[in-house]
């Protein structure tokens, strides 16, 4: 388990949480990554429930402490029931639907060896998702897996280590942390 890690990078002097201070080393790239993240998760082709399942799968696979501590909230409500969120870790043996499991299989393939995507998975993805949905899902994964940067430097520090926190997106795809969730 990745718990209570020391940040692995000497940080520039300044204000802000460690991840923000580290971004000061390469501010223009950090800005581009932020704009890419927003563009990639902008509301569109993919339904929020599938997107949240994919986000949680990325968080679990990469053991990102901050991402695991977040739950997407829209209009004051979690987009995914916590009971479904808890199924993501062992989704193949869960009662999640076929479409949801296929999305998670594609997510796993992307994060491991995408060159080994089987004909069966390709068929499933093409059967259950439109081309636009596939593109949206892959862009979602690109955005969520920016967590790999945080995890590399142990900068994945949750906003509230004792509780789940809301993750809120505006209409442009930019995010902010909401309130602690009960």
């Amino acid at each position: 388990m990745r718990e209570a890690l020391e940040v692995r990078l000497p940080l520039p002097v300044g204000a802000g949480v460690p991840a923000v201070r580290a971004a000061g080393y390469r501010p223009e790239l950090a800005r581009s990554l932020g704009e890419l993240h927003a563009a990639a998760v902008q509301p569109g082709a993919l339904d929020p429930q599938t997107s949240e399942l994919v986000r949680l799968r990325c968080a679990i696979w990469h053991q990102c402490r901050v991402c695991k501590s977040l739950r997407w909230v829209a209009d004051g409500e979690r987009v995914l029931d916590e009971s479904d969120a808890e199924k993501v870790a062992d989704y193949e043996r869960s009662d999640l639907g076929d479409r949801q499991k296929i999305a998670l299989r594609l997510t796993d393939a992307f994060m491991t060896v995408p060159g080994d995507i089987s004909a069966e998975l390709r068929h499933q993805v093409r059967q259950y998702f439109s081309d636009g949905e596939v593109v949206a899902m892959l862009l979602n994964i690109i955005a969520w897996t920016q967590q790999k940067l945080l995890v590399s430097f142990a900068l994945d520090i949750p906003p509230d280590a004792s509780a789940l926190t809301g993750l809120v997106f505006d209409e442009t795809g930019h995010y902010s942390f909401g309130e602690a969730l009960g």
Binding site: E28, L36, A45, R122, A136
Partner: protein
Amino acid sequence: MAITEPSADSFEAAFPPACFGLIQEHAPAAYACLRQTYEQALCAADPHLLGLARQRIRLMIDPAAAPLVHSDTDRNGAKLANVADWSTAEVYTPVERACLAFAEQFAFSVADLDDALIAALLAELPAGDVYGLVNGIYVIDALERLSATLNRLFNQEGVL
């Protein structure tokens, strides 16, 4: 050198139209951001190190991928050709070894990445350059994964 092989030092080689055309069609704003971010990544770290990392990641995540070549084969050809054996091949400098060790673990399992891999980079590069390199490796990792996934899903009907 076969001129049809993808080049390690070509900007456009990171965005093969057969794969990224679908992104451009369905998400033009995100596609523009991908290109902008890649451009920034190449400015944020040593392009030579990023080229080595890209080759290693490419061969790890897509066993059928064509290896990259380099336009300057005298300087970099042997390094690109031997990248899968970086730990034993004699052609690599300490900073190249540290970069390849990190890139390999980053692509395989970032959750299991340990302090030593970052420390090895910090022993060779200033902290800001390590941050830039790791960010650059993320961008390359993401683009290579996107390319391989799109290729498998949309360009290989009937291949398997």
